[in-house]
């Protein structure tokens, strides 16, 4: 079992979340090109999700089996949904 300090478990993720959110605001007001902006925002959102799940929800300290049994079904489902719905959405008549 990992023995991390309170700083690593609470304050370090908080600092990362704050920094990423501030950067998101900076990008929202400075970058205009949508096809540059959107992938950056999605990557930043996934980074924020990592800090919340791994540290705040203690997922980093759980055993491998619990991590996989939660994350894999979710990734399979959401991957399927994104591929199908966004592909179909682009084909829909406006």
């Amino acid at each position: 079992m990992a023995q991390d300090s309170v700083f690593k478990k609470v304050w370090m993720p908080l600092i990362w979340l704050a920094v990423i959110t501030i950067l998101e605001f900076v990008i929202a007001f400075t970058v205009d090109a949508k096809n540059v902006k959107v992938p950056i925002f999605i990557l930043m959102t996934i980074a924020k999700a990592y800090f919340i799940i791994a540290f705040f929800m203690h997922m980093k300290y759980e055993v491998d089996l619990l991590r996989k049994s939660i994350l894999y079904p979710f990734l399979a489902f959401i991957g399927l949904l994104i591929i199908i719905l966004l592909y179909e959405g682009a084909k829909l008549p406006g």
Binding site: I42, V63, P73, G89
Partner: protein, 213 residues
């Protein structure tokens, strides 16, 4: 300090987690499916829609600053409030591991205050948008679909925050009356903590896909 506290049944489980905690994770997985379905449906219809509202023009007001153009400032404040309430919840769970009744009660109380503040902000934002004419059937900023999805998804998220606040209040009352000292375990604080962080996690995605993209 142990990062995760194991109860007796957790030590025997292959997942090294108690039943209650495992089931909370399974519940959160199903809840994540619901939110993922909403958000991908939103993405699908947004791609199919020829026009869309500009979030910097929709969300540009702040209480007591009427008529000023302050894009995304208020939602930044809401995000900040929710992240801070998540941090106080982490601290409440840490105090629970130490079986410190006063500490857990204090941080849980702060978390409840944060949740209520967030709900008040959301109520103000909804009232403001409805008074500006954005309802389920009309939207002055763009297609009505934008308002429909906005009210559906932020409403569903707000419902989760509301139930989270109610559960937090019940647990806080139990902590104050010493129920978990008699039981010898504060694991319930960890379970409601998982739920609370999940609500914060959903907000991270709602924030990106409604306010930024």
């Amino acid at each position: 300090m142990a990062s995760i506290q194991l109860t007796e049944d957790a030590k025997r489980s292959p997942l090294k987690a108690s039943w209650g905690k495992t089931m909370m994770w399974v519940f959160l997985l199903t809840d994540a499916f619901t939110f993922a379905s909403f958000l991908t449906a939103y993405g699908m219809l947004r791609i199919a829609s020829p026009t869309w509202a500009d979030p910097e023009k929709v969300f540009n007001s702040f209480p007591f600053f009427h008529g000023k153009d302050l894009p995304l400032v208020f939602v930044g404040l809401m995000t900040f409030i929710l992240i801070v309430s998540s941090v106080t919840m982490v601290l409440a769970v840490e105090e629970g591991f130490k079986k410190n009744r006063n500490g857990a009660a204090w941080y849980l109380f702060l978390t409840i205050i944060g949740g209520l503040t967030f709900l008040a902000c959301q109520a103000w934002e909804w009232t403001h948008l409805i008074m500006n004419g954005m309802t389920l059937s009309s939207n002055p900023y763009g297609p009505p679909l934008f308002g429909q999805f906005f009210f559906l998804i932020t409403g569903f998220h707000g419902g989760h925050v509301t139930s989270g606040v109610i559960i937090n209040i019940i647990v806080l009352i139990n902590i104050i009356f010493g129920t978990y000292d008699k039981k010898g375990s504060y694991e319930i604080v960890e379970k409601i903590g998982l739920y609370w962080h999940f609500v914060d996690l959903v907000w991270v995605f709602v924030f990106t896909f409604f306010y930024l993209v």
